[in-house]
């Protein structure tokens, strides 16, 4: 109502400007919508085909499921005749543990590297930066050797450890940048208040890092959830399979159970979507507002 009132009170000469702005907004939205459609199309395809019979999938891959072609056999196969629950649980445990530890360790490392001056500070920061540049998969063979020697093969611990190593460099980098923007007076005020360094980190700094940590969480979480490489190499055992690996059992050399594959993929989207929604709420909030003028 208020906006409407304001619009009408604008002088008439502002009209062309408003028109140009609307045009610009439309163009931006068109681009974004196109991108959204392209990005969501494969997911939509997975969704609709998971509900169709095998024949219908091949006859008309883009068609919506009709009464004739509706078939929930895939979900039946996945939920009743495979260990989908176990796989989902494994994936969830690995992802949550890895993301949680990346956030905690990343924030602590970032705080130490930006706040304290000590010997080797620069070297450490440089090593973390190297971690962003060099993909961890290059070290797969050594990692496998290491895990064999530690007797961690076919355990979720192996995956969690590797994913922490994989996610930490970017987390440290993003969080360091963010910590630098926190006014130093806040820490100094806390020090004058007699608060210990640990408590300054956990009670003053960490709450302010929430938006940045949400960003890091999303960036870290998706590749872990989707990863096939390390589960296949480090934890292919029946008990420690993750969802992405579990799906592979429906992909055969000669016959692929497409209904089951598509159904399990559909189900695999749900947990990660929920996690994303949780983190993205934090993304929007600007928490430092009001700390300083």
């Amino acid at each position: 109502m208020k906006a409407l009132f304001f619009d009408r009170s604008q002088p008439a000469t502002g009209g062309w400007q408003r028109g140009a702005q609307t045009g610009k907004a439309l163009a931006v939205h068109a681009v974004l919508l196109t991108y959204t459609v392209i990005a969501l199309f494969p997911i939509l395809l997975v969704l609709i085909n998971s509900l169709k019979s095998r024949k219908a999938i091949f006859r008309d891959p883009l068609g919506l499921p009709s009464l004739d072609t509706l078939n929930l056999g895939g979900f039946e196969q996945v939920l009743l005749r495979s260990d989908f629950g176990l796989y989902a649980c494994n994936s969830l445990v690995v992802t949550i543990l890895a993301v949680g530890l990346v956030l905690l360790l990343g924030a602590m490392a970032a705080w130490a590297l930006t706040e304290y001056r000590f010997r080797g500070n620069l070297l450490l920061a440089f090593l973390f930066a190297m971690g962003i540049m060099i993909p961890i998969r290059l070290g797969t063979v050594s990692i496998l050797n290491l895990m064999v020697q530690l007797h961690l093969v076919n355990t979720l611990t192996a995956l969690v450890l590797v994913y922490i190593a994989q996610g930490l460099p970017l987390a440290v980098y993003i969080l360091s940048e963010f910590i630098r923007t926190i006014p130093k007076e806040l820490k100094e005020a806390a020090r004058c208040d007699g608060i210990s360094e640990y408590k300054i980190f956990f009670a003053v700094i960490l709450p302010l890092l929430r938006p940045a940590m949400a960003t890091v969480a999303v960036f870290t979480m998706i590749p872990i959830w989707n990863d096939l490489w390390f589960p296949l190499i480090l934890a292919p055992g029946e008990e420690s399979r993750t969802i992405t690996l579990g799906v592979q059992q429906f992909v055969g050399q000669y016959v692929t159970d497409w209904n089951a594959v598509l159904s399990s993929l559909t189900l695999a989207i749900v947990p990660v979507l929920v996690l994303y929604l949780i983190f993205s709420r934090q993304l929007i909030r600007g928490l430092t507002a009001g700390a300083v003028k």
Partner: protein, 352 residues
């Protein structure tokens, strides 16, 4: 509440830059000391050294007769108020004020009592449940002061606490800070670059220039007897008129034609200073010299008149009471009573 003593306290940075050579300052119990100077003069550094946020390179800092050089900020039992307030943004006003107490293991009742006492004193009682971002600048400033007050520290340290407020609020908060400090009787060290703030708040002022104390004294002492040209220019608004002149047997040679009668044994080149309000407009016959008016700022209660005297390029300022508006380029006749003169050595800039 305590004495704060600085013995030859100095600061040299690891890169060799000497920010503060050595400062001696004895702050009595309950005294309000203002450190004032232009930006980069080391006043904030000195305050942070007292707080323990910056290390002391040389000399000794005593609070309550105890050496504090090596103590952590918390152990010094001081409270600091920052320019940007530095309130914990995720905590309510109550928690902001209570946090230090809670951390020192105060009981719940004690915290409740102390916080509500301070809140009442500062008029924050209705705002205790708010978050800092829901407060105005002046309210945040009060919360920052409340956070300092609740602990009843040995000393308050203020680092330009009013710079982020608008002019009207600044005047109001200035008065409030002064009243509070009197009421609580806490030793206070206050940093500002605003000389009006400094003059109105201080029991004693320390004028800092390039890391050393140019002069330490009460506001009026500094105003009436500035020890150096730096203090003379810095204290008072508009600044004191300072002109290099020479004194001969004929008197003070303002220009080649104009000489002022001078009862002084001083001879040779000196810097002559006189405050704008001590240049009195008068009739031509009584005048010591004349000023060609170049600009007039009429402020109602007073008028500031800027102009040149014939043969000199320096702009002189006259402060005349009331709405007095001479025309531009008109000659303004002035008396410069000798008892209001300030003479400074031309080389050392020290008062003669």
């Amino acid at each position: 509440m305590a004495e704060v003593i600085l013995n030859q306290v100095g600061k040299t940075y690891p890169n060799g830059y000497q920010a503060i050579p050595a400062i001696d300052l004895h702050i009595a119990d309950g005294e309000f000391i203002v450190l004032v100077g232009p930006s980069g003069c080391g006043k904030s550094t000195l305050l942070r050294m007292v707080a323990g946020l910056e290390s002391i390179s040389s000399g000794e800092l005593l609070i309550n007769n105890q050496r504090m050089n090596e103590k952590e900020p918390a152990e010094r039992d001081i409270a600091m108020v920052f320019q940007n307030y530095a309130l914990y943004p995720h905590m309510t006003v109550f928690d902001n004020m209570a946090y230090g107490l809670r951390n020192r293991g105060a009981s719940k009742d004690e915290i409740q009592r102390k916080v509500s006492d301070s809140a009442r004193l500062l008029g924050l009682t209705d705002l205790l449940e708010r978050k800092p971002k829901q407060l105005s600048g002046g309210q945040r400033q009060r919360v920052a002061m409340g956070r300092a007050m609740v602990r009843h520290p040995q000393a308050f340290l203020f680092d330009e606490p009013l710079s982020n407020l608008d002019a009207k609020l600044r005047v109001q908060m200035r008065v409030e800070i002064r009243q509070l400090q009197r009421q609580l009787g806490t030793t206070t060290l206050y940093v500002t670059h605003d000389q009006v703030e400094a003059m109105t708040l201080a029991d004693r002022l320390v004028v800092l220039n390039k890391g050393h104390a140019e002069q330490i004294g009460s506001p009026l002492e500094l105003y009436e007897r500035p020890a150096t040209t730096f203090v003379a220019e810095f204290i008072g608004s508009p600044s004191m008129n300072l002109l290099p002149v020479s004194i001969t047997d004929q008197g003070l040679q303002l220009t080649e034609q104009v000489s002022l009668q001078a009862d002084t044994k001083e001879r040779g080149a000196v810097i002559w200073g006189i405050r704008p309000e001590h240049l009195q407009p008068c009739s031509e016959s009584e005048a010591d010299f004349a000023l060609q008016v170049k600009a007039v700022e009429a402020l109602g209660a007073e008028s500031l008149i800027y102009g040149h005297t014939a043969g000199r390029s320096e702009l002189l300022v006259v402060r005349a009471p009331g709405p007095f508006t001479p025309a531009i380029d008109q000659m303004l006749y002035l008396r410069a009573p000798q008892q209001q003169w300030h003479l400074f050595d031309i080389n050392t800039q020290q008062r003669i």
